[in-house]
Every structure is written in structure tokens, then in C-alpha cells.
């Protein structure tokens, strides 16, 4: 909407200018409303900052101006100011009875267009429309500049994006951009202006879709979380209409998110991240070749985590997920990680433990022990869906367990895939993370991976953060879960199947897992194929797969992700999977998870220097993408869900989620109010993420 247009539509401007007034004092608010009405503005009032934010976010174009009090009980006025500026880029006027220079200065530096003292006079209010016009004009002007550069940069970036060269290119580009932004940034007051917005005059709101988020995370990973600079990220992402400010604010949120994740569950995070990564990215485990054992289960220890991972969402996932890794004959039960992620979504869903064991084999985590393992070990699988108990149960429980996802895991049992990557399960419900234990083979079934297991994973992860086992059992130092290789049945305790598996199998893997946030490996099975069925749950966790994993495990774990690259049709039917719990939610979750997972996995992966590079990386990058795609579900939904979950659950598995719809995650983080996907287990994410970062 150009200014002209908007002006045209409101040619009586400033009459009819839409103002949002926020003040906790009812008298002031009433007065303000009356005054504004007297000026012939269109007024909306609220006494809560949170409500105001919600209103603003709902419809970006709904308001022209925001007037806010400084002292509010639910949120500091300056904070609101910042958020509005970052997200919506609307002019904000501060109001306060406190007229001290310092306070006024603070307001201005935070980006306020103006600072009025109470009691407000009508004369002052008559002029506030100037700010709207001024801002628009300024934006437009700035837009023109970046356009040229942006295009050029974009092309450059595009080229470089493929490789690591992107950084270089972005460097160059950044420089250009930097010049511009430096100039811009000098205008403290105009900070909020989106100068670099090449698009419409009125900066369009950026919706951080899963895909976008994925790219963002990929870019951040590439640069390194600590070193990631908005400009560079922007260049790497190479997305049109994305401004540096958008990226900057998103980055800020992302960092907060990560912090939260790490804070939440040291281990679990990793695990969940690995597993839970709700993103199907984990599920990508499919491609997880080497990681097989690694399966998320990483180290038996981890397994339990998986279970715990699930807890987040799945609740069910008790751990068998971890066992999943045993599943992986080749599939790294990424469950764990994914699981976590999944948990979030899964949580809702029924938390399909990321481990979506591809139906086939129930995730023979134990590779050999296919069903036995599965079932025996994990009584969990039963959780999943009783039906699944077969495990995929093996898988599922082990972590792959898509946990409660009872959804589709049925197949899992067969395939020794165990979890391998197929753990799509995560997708299932909460896919949290369940890393993708993609069970390569029978993916058709998809992973029934007992999502439950997944949940387990999540729970597992939760437990120790351990999901790592499931995924990257990074934490799971104890047992480098060899990707399910040796998954001896024996070990897997029924309950912990997942756990055991981790120990068993992934010993080698687990080791690595320990190092890396296992969660990675367990690529979030979350790739609930809800819609696609292709849950490339990349067990991103694979990436996280602790490098220790004999490289292989890592790899394998990752493989889970990687291997599972093959889209293991994570038929994670959201419906099915979500074990009925939130089938509807599942899909959403999945997607988000998937994305998130993908992302996280990406992230994890990247951070971790996993040897699994090839796979991991691949998974990260690509699978994630695919995952994101896969998930395709209404991005917004997923996002929302994810967000909600993330936010609420602090998707610790950050890693996973990081990958996945980081956006969501971020949103989740940032917007706690979104609790759609009770990504409760998001906790995993954190750790995972942190691990990832460590990596």
C-alpha cells in the first residue's frame, strides 16, 4: 500500500487516523480516548500492553499510531515501544506523568516518536499525526535506496549462498548494507524505520514463516550464533523484502530463545533438540546412514531422555524412544531430539515422539532386535499406540517412539529401521523431536514410530536433557549410543527402551551424542508428514550426534536424519499420529516442528561440527528445507503452533526447533502467549541448541 494509496483511502487524514491507546490507568485511558476522539481519530483502547501487542500483531495494518503509557504493570512501556518498533514499525508516542529528562531521553532512544507529559492536552494530540506522515515518507525514501543494492546483493548472495562462500559475499554485501544502515542507525529516533526495506513504502510486516526461519537459522548457523550479524544473515538468506531490521529483531528473539532453551534443559534440550526437533528435519534421519545406531537413542541414557522428551508433549514418549536408537539399524534414532521438538507439537498431539519410526520396522532400533526390542523394551511403545507397540515400538519407545503418537507407527516394527530416521514420529504429534527416526524402510507405514516414543524421547530428553540419547545423546555421555547398532535388547529396559537403546546401540553413538546435542541426531521426527507424509525428519539430531560417535554414530545419528532423508513418508498422519490427541494439532505441530526441527537440526548440526557433516549438513540444510516444505502445512498454523509451543514450552530443543520454524520458536519464545502447541518440551530445544552452538 503506497502512501498515496493509503492517503487516498484516508484522504481526510489525519481525520480517521487509527490510534491504539495503551494505559493501565483507567482515568487516563478514558481521557485519552475522549481527547483523541475529539481530534477525530479512530481510537482503540486497551489497558494491557499484552493485549495491545496482540492487537497489533493480529493485523499489521490496523493501526497507524500507538500511544502508550510508560508505567504499566504487565509490561514496561519502553519494552512495548521496542517491540512495536521492531515488529510493526509503527510510530509510538510515549505518555507519562514523569517528565524528567532522563526518562524522556530513554523514551527517545528506545525509538519513541514523541514523548508527552500527562495530563495530556488536546493541542498536543492534534499534532501527532505528523509522526505518521513523517515516518511514511521517510520509509519510502529509504526504500528506494536499498532496492538497488538489495537486488544486487541478492544475486550475489544467491550465488554464494550455496556454499560457504556466502559468507564472503555477504561480507561484501554487508558492507554496502552496512554503510546504509549506519546512516540509518544514526537516526536514533528513526530507528524503527525500516530503511532497508526495498519493498513497499510501508514496510510490510515480515512473517517469519517456517521456511524463512529455516533459512534464517541456516544462515545463523553458518555464521555462528555469536557471530551472526543481521546484515550477514540477511545476505545469506537472500530473501526479498526482508530488511536488516527484520532480521535483527528476529535474531534478537532467536538468541533469547536459545538462551531459554539452554537454560531449560541442559541435557534435555539437547536431546530434545536433537530429537524433538520437532522439525521433521530430524526426521530426516532417513538419510542418516551412518548414524544408524546413533539413533537418537544415543546412549541408552539418552533414551530415557527421549522418553522424557516426550514428556513434554508426548508424555508418552517415555523413553523408549531412546531405545529407538537401537532401532536404527541405520537409522539414528533421532528420535530423541526430534522428540523434543515434537513434544511441543506433540504435546498437543499426543506428542508424537519424534521417533517416527517409519512404519516399517518398527524401528528396529536394535537392529537386530527389532521387535523384541521394541516392544520389550519399551513398554512404551505401548504407549504409543497400543497398536504401535510393535514398535515401531521398538522404535518408538526407544525414543523414536513417536510416542504417543500412536499414530502411525505401526510400521515401525518391521523395519529394523528402527527409528532410523524414520522417526518421523515426531511429527506425529508433537513430533517433537522425535527425531526422525526414520526408518528407512517401511516408511510407508511411517513411522508409526510411536510417536509416543517420541514423546519419550522428549521425555527422555527432558529427563536429562538427555534426549540426546535419542538424538544426539549428546549428553548421553554414558552411552554413546551407537546408533542402534548393538542395541541389545537386553539393555533396553522396557520402560526406557529408548534409553536402553541408546546405550546399547548407540554407544558409539551416544558418545558422540554426548558431545553433540544429541538431539540432533534425533532429528525431529517431527516431520509429521501430516500432509506430506514425507517427513524427512531429518534427524537433525544427527548432526548433533555427538561427534564422539565414532564418527559414524554421529553420522549415523545423523543419518537418522540423513538417512531418513528419504522422505520417509512420515505418514505421520497427523491424525493418526497425534494419537488422536491432537491430530489436528499434530499436523500443525509437525510442520512447525518439522520446520523447527529442521531448523534446529540444522542448527545443531552446523554448530556441532559433526562429522556427519555430509549428512548432517545435508540434512540440515536440505532436509530442513524439505522438511519445511513438507510440512507445508499452513505455515502460519504451524508457526503458530510452533510458536506457541515454543514459546511456552521453551522449546528447548531449540536446536531442533531452532531449525524448524525458528520463526516459530522465536515466536514462541517471544510470544509466550501463543501456546498453541504446547511445546512443552521445548525445553529440549534449548539444550540442544546450546549444544549445537557449542558445536
Amino acid at each position: 500500500m503506497t502512501i498515496e494509496e493509503s492517503m487516498g483511502s484516508r484522504d481526510q487524514f489525519p481525520v480517521g487516523m487509527r490510534v491504539l491507546a495503551v494505559d493501565d490507568d483507567p482515568i487516563c485511558l478514558r481521557l485519552l480516548e475522549a481527547l483523541l476522539r475529539r481530534c477525530q481519530y479512530n481510537v482503540t483502547t486497551t489497558d494491557k500492553a499484552i493485549t495491545a501487542l496482540k492487537l497489533l500483531r493480529e493485523n499489521k495494518d490496523k493501526f497507524d499510531l500507538v500511544i502508550s503509557d510508560v508505567h504499566m504493570p504487565d509490561m514496561d512501556g519502553f519494552k512495548l515501544l521496542e517491540l512495536v518498533g521492531l515488529e510493526m514499525d509503527l510510530p509510538v508516542i510515549m505518555l507519562s506523568a514523569n517528565g524528567e529528562t532522563q526518562t524522556v531521553m530513554k523514551g527517545i532512544t528506545h525509538g519513541a516518536c514523541d514523548y508527552l507529559l500527562k495530563p495530556v492536552r488536546i493541542e498536543e494530540l492534534r499534532n501527532i499525526w505528523q509522526h505518521v506522515i513523517r515516518r511514511r515518507k521517510f520509509e519510502r525514501r529509504c526504500d528506494n535506496d536499498p532496492d538497488g543494492r538489495e537486488d544486487g546483493q541478492k544475486s550475489q548472495v544467491a550465488k554464494s549462498e550455496d556454499g560457504q562462500g556466502a559468507a564472503d559475499h555477504s561480507g561484501k554485501i554487508n558492507k554496502k548494507r552496512k554503510d546504509q544502515s549506519e546512516v540509518d542507525e544514526d537516526d536514533s529516533e528513526d530507528n524503527m524505520l525500516d530503511n532497508e526495506d526495498p519493498s513497499a513504502q510501508k514496510k510490510p510486516r515480515v512473517v517469519w514463516t517456517v521456511e524463512l526461519h529455516r533459512k534464517f537459522v541456516a544462515a545463523v548457523n553458518q555464521l555462528g550464533v555469536d557471530k551472526a550479524v543481521p546484515k550477514k544473515i540477511l545476505d545469506l538468506m537472500n530473501v526479498e523484502k526482508l530488511t536488516r531490521e527484520n532480521v535483527a529483531s528476529h535474531l534478537q528473539k532467536y538468541r533469547l530463545y536459545l538462551k531459554r532453551l539452554s537454560a531449560v534443559a541442559g541435557h534435555q534440550a539437547s536431546i530434545t533438540a536433537a530429537v524433538g526437533v520437532r522439525n521433521p528435519s530430524y526426521l530426516h534421519m532417513a538419510s542418516f546412514n551412518g548414524l544408524r545406531n546413533y539413533c537418537a537413542i544415543n546412549g541408552s541414557k539418552q533414551l530415557p531422555i527421549l522418553g522424557s522428551l516426550q514428556q513434554n508433549g508426548f508424555g508418552r514418549m517415555n523413553s523408549p524412544m531412546l531405545g529407538m536408537h537401537a532401532l536404527l539399524p541405520s537409522q539414528t534414532v533421532q528420535l530423541g531430539g526430534a522428540h523434543k521438538n515434537a513434544s511441543n507439537p506433540c504435546n498437543d498431539l499426543g506428542k508424537i515422539p519424534g521417533i517416527i519410526l517409519q512404519g516399517n520396522h518398527r524401528v528396529n532400533l536394535l537392529q537386530g532386535v527389532p521387535t523384541a526390542l521394541e516392544l520389550e523394551q519399551f513398554p512404551q511403545p505401548k504407549l504409543m499406540q497400543e497398536a504401535k507397540s510393535h514398535f515401531p515400538a521398538g522404535l518408538s519407545d526407544s525414543g523414536l517412539a513417536a510416542g504417543p503418537c500412536s499414530n502411525s507407527f505401526p510400521n515401525v516394527t518391521n523395519n529394523s529401521l528402527l527409528v532410523q530416521a524414520n522417526k518421523q514420529h515426531n511429527q506425529s504429534g508433537g513430533l517433537d523431536n522425535f527425531s526422525i527416526v526414520r526408518m528407512p524402510s517401511s516408511s510407508s507405514e511411517l513411522f508409526e514410530i510411536d510417536l509416543q516414543d517420541v514423546s519419550q524421547f522428549s521425555s527422555i530428553s527432558r529427563c536429562d536433557g538427555s534426549w540426546q540419547g535419542a538424538v544426539a545423546s549428546t549428553e548421553y555421555s554414558a552411552n554413546p549410543l551407537p546408533i542402534l547398532a548393538p542395541y541389545n535388547h537386553t539393555d533396553i529396559p522396557p520402560g526406557n527402551v529408548g534409553r536402553n537403546i541408546s546405550t546399547v546401540t548407540s554407544h558409539p553413538v551416544t558418545r558422540t551424542l554426548d558431545e553433540s546435542p544429541n538431539i540432533k541426531a534425533v532429528a525431529p521426527l517431527c516431520n509429521p508428514t501430516t500432509s506430506n507424509g514425507v517427513n524427512q525428519v531429518r534427524l537433525l539430531s544427527a548432526s548433533s550426534v555427538p561427534t564422539a560417535l565414532d564418527k559414524d554414530p554421529k553420522f549415523s545419528n545423523f543419518n537418522i536424519i540423513g538417512n531418513s532423508q528419504q522422505k520417509w513418508d512420515y505418514t505421520f498422519n497427523p491424525n493418526a499420529v497425534s494419537s488422536a490427541s491432537s491430530s489436528s494439532s499434530l499436523p500443525n505441530l509437525r510442520i512447525t516442528d518439522a520446520t523447527a526441527q529442521c531448523r534446529t537440526s540444522e542448527f545443531v548440526f552446523s554448530n556441532k561440527n559433526l562429522d556427519v557433516d555430509s549428512i548432517g549438513q545435508v540434512n540440515f540444510g536440505s532436509p530442513l528445507i524439505t522438511q519445511n516444505c513438507m510440512i507445508d502445512k499452513p505455515t502460519s498454523d504451524s508457526q503458530l503452533n510452533f510458536k506457541g509451543e515454543y514459546g511456552s514450552t521453551s522449546f528447548q530443543s531449540g536446536l531442533n526447533s531452532a531449525g524448524c520454524s525458528l520463526d516459530d520458536l522465536v515466536n514462541a519464545m517471544i510470544k509466550p502467549e501463543r501456546d498453541e502447541i504446547a511445546f512443552a518440551d521445548m525445553d529440549l530445544g534449548c539444550d540442544v541448541y546450546s549444544l549445537g552452538t557449542c558445536m
Partner: protein
């Protein structure tokens, strides 16, 4: 005449409110905002004010009696009260609140108590006066509008 004497009374009451410093120009602003769309705007806002401020005063009372006294939250409460008062133009109250706040900052217990008493007193005085005012206003009726807008 009845109405004119009432009107006179009203005018006097108002004048005294201003003279005594209970009210300031902000009150005029409120009156100006009153129009056909919101005919009882002033009264509404004032009622709102008293409702809210009574609550605040009660909270402050509680906070002040707490031991150990939390000056931080006390200060916040008083600040709020002051804000509200300023919105309707309750000048005297505002001043009293300022004094109160100062004592709070200095953590002067004695001073706090004293100034709080003052605030409370002013609060009830103002309330009483304004209630009278509005009663009269209602009695005077529509004619008052003309008078008021004349101001």
C-alpha cells in the same frame, strides 16, 4: 429564580473548588470534552477517578502498615494515584501526593504517615465537594450546559 440561584450556587461551588486549589485547568479540559456524544463525560470520569483512587488509597494504606515497609511499591502506588489525580485536575491531591512521594524516597516513615493522612483527607474532601457539584449540576439541568460551555 430557582434555576438561577442554583446556577449561582453551582458557580460558586466551582469557583471555590478552583480557588481553594482542589481543581485546576485540567478540569476545564474535561468539561470541554463533554459534548453531545458524551453528555456526562465529566461526571463519568470523575466517578471513575474516585473509584480507582479509593482502591489505590486503600492499597497504600495497606502498604504503609506493612512491616517492614516496602517503599518501592508504596512509591509506585502513590505515583499511580498522582497520575490519576492529574488527569482530572485534582491539583491539591497531586501536590499532596508529590510530598508523600518525597518522603517515601527518603524513607522517612514519619513523614510518610503524615503526608499520607493529608492525601487521604484531601481525597475525601474532594470527593465530597465534587459530589455536591454534580448534584447541583444535575439539578440545574440542561441550562447548565450553556453556562458551562460559556466558561
Amino acid at each position: 429564580m430557582e434555576s438561577s440561584s442554583l446556577q449561582r450556587q453551582l458557580a460558586n461551588l466551582k469557583k471555590s473548588l478552583f480557588d481553594q486549589g482542589n481543581l485546576d485547568e485540567q478540569f476545564y479540559q474535561l468539561e470541554e470534552l463533554q459534548d453531545d456524544a458524551s453528555p456526562n463525560f465529566v461526571e463519568e470520569v470523575v466517578t471513575l477517578f474516585f473509584r480507582d483512587s479509593s482502591r489505590l488509597v486503600a492499597n497504600i494504606e495497606q502498604a504503609i502498615e506493612k512491616c517492614p515497609r516496602d517503599y518501592g511499591s508504596l512509591d509506585a502506588l502513590v505515583h499511580q494515584l498522582k497520575d490519576s489525580a492529574s488527569s482530572i485536575g485534582a491539583a491539591k491531591m497531586m501536590k499532596d501526593c508529590t510530598v508523600f512521594r518525597e518522603y517515601c524516597e527518603k524513607r522517612n516513615s514519619e513523614g510518610c504517615l503524615r503526608s499520607f493522612q493529608k492525601v487521604k483527607k484531601e481525597h475525601s474532601t474532594l470527593r465530597l465537594k465534587l459530589e455536591n457539584y454534580f448534584q447541583l449540576l444535575r439539578q440545574v439541568g440542561p441550562a447548565e450546559k450553556a453556562t458551562r460551555s460559556g466558561k
